[in-house]
Amino acid sequence: MSKATKDRAAQAKRIVAEQKARERRRVVTLWTSVAVVAVLVIAGLVGWGIFAGQEKDNAGSVTTPPTAVDGGTAFARGEGPVTIDIYEDFMCPICHEFEDAAGPTITQLVDAKKVTVNYHPIAILDRYSTTEYSTRAAGAAAAAAQGGKFYEYHETLFANQPEEGSAGLDNAKLIELGKGVGLTSQTFADAVNNKTYTGWATKVTDTASGSGVTGTPTVLVAGKKLDNPSAQALTAAVEAAAA
């Protein structure tokens, strides 16, 4: 064989090898792409499925406190014509500040029979404690409402608000705080220990999110959201709604 023929043969071989490699790459790219899409679709469906399961489990464990109003999502205080809705999380420091700043004004409005306050204890800050304190505290508040002491208990929970990132208050402490406001019954202690109303707290949170509550505190006067909840804004809105 001449040198030229040998070169041609080698070149032909190389071209065939390159074509084979290209073909292989094409097939690999096709099937890996199919695999990637399949993995992502399955992952998304798994997430949806797990979440749907969690929602279903929770729906099965909801015990709505009999004294709850507004579709079983809130506890009412006062009997005035103007409705104030307050969405609060017991782990939320700004809710605590709002309570300190506007609490006396709200009490005056309630005493003057100008307003009915619906307190919605929701739990959106479970990630701020290691023990889902938001949910447990909201559940305990529901138990306090059954003992007729929602407002007193709500105040003591804010006064004893745990630090963000801590373990929150344990159930024993929640029960002890209840005793401090006159909730001495075994029923209250059992409801806290057995987490009777935590499923309800999750449902109330879900209902609130569905109606556009994306943070706490959210304060509505006669159904209208206050942009910057403060004592003055609250008074002004109540007067406007009553007029």
Partner: protein
């Protein structure tokens, strides 16, 4: 016949791509991992953008952490890197669009990028500029991989039999 410069490019670029691939994988794994423990909160974070009805936001919020982790794992093993990078870029563009939209509407929310997000309290100001800059940085990683998807230690390389 390769020049010295070309040779350098063919040896160095796959290593840069490898770093980009693993970096992007870490981003997705961390982002998804931080959200997967509380799917309801993830849904509320999506809802806080006030773009989708709550029921849709819940489904997106539940699926998103799983998608992020799946994408992270795919990039980690290096399977169909160009496609994975393309999907990453698409997700990042959607996230940036969401943040811009929240910013332009004056919403005060946590972007929920690496947490379960939600509305910020009074006094806390959002840091949309930083969030967008960070996502844009991740977008650069994804863009580099789109341009140069060949990486070291990848499934693609093993399957194609032409790497290393």
């Amino acid at each position: 016949m390769e020049t010295g410069q070309q040779a350098r490019r063919t040896t160095v670029l796959p290593w840069i791509s490898t770093v980009a691939r693993l970096g992007l994988a870490a981003v997705w794994l961390i982002a998804g991992g931080l959200k997967i423990g509380d799917l309801a909160a993830s849904g509320r974070a999506v809802n806080a953008y006030q773009i989708f009805p709550y029921d849709v936001a819940k489904v997106i919020g539940a699926a998103q952490p799983f998608l992020e982790i799946a994408l992270g794992l795919l990039l980690l093993v290096g399977l169909a890197v160009r496609l994975s990078a393309g999907i990453s870029a698409a997700f990042l563009l959607i996230f940036i669009a969401g943040i811009v939209s929240a910013w332009s509407r004056g919403l005060a929310i946590d972007c929920g990028c690496f947490s379960s997000g939600g509305e910020l309290g009074a006094g806390a100001s959002p840091v949309y500029g930083w969030d967008i800059a960070r996502d844009a940085g991740f977008l650069v990683l994804a863009g580099f991989l789109l341009w140069r998807p060949r990486t070291r230690y990848s499934m693609d390389g093993v399957l194609m039999g032409d790497e290393q």
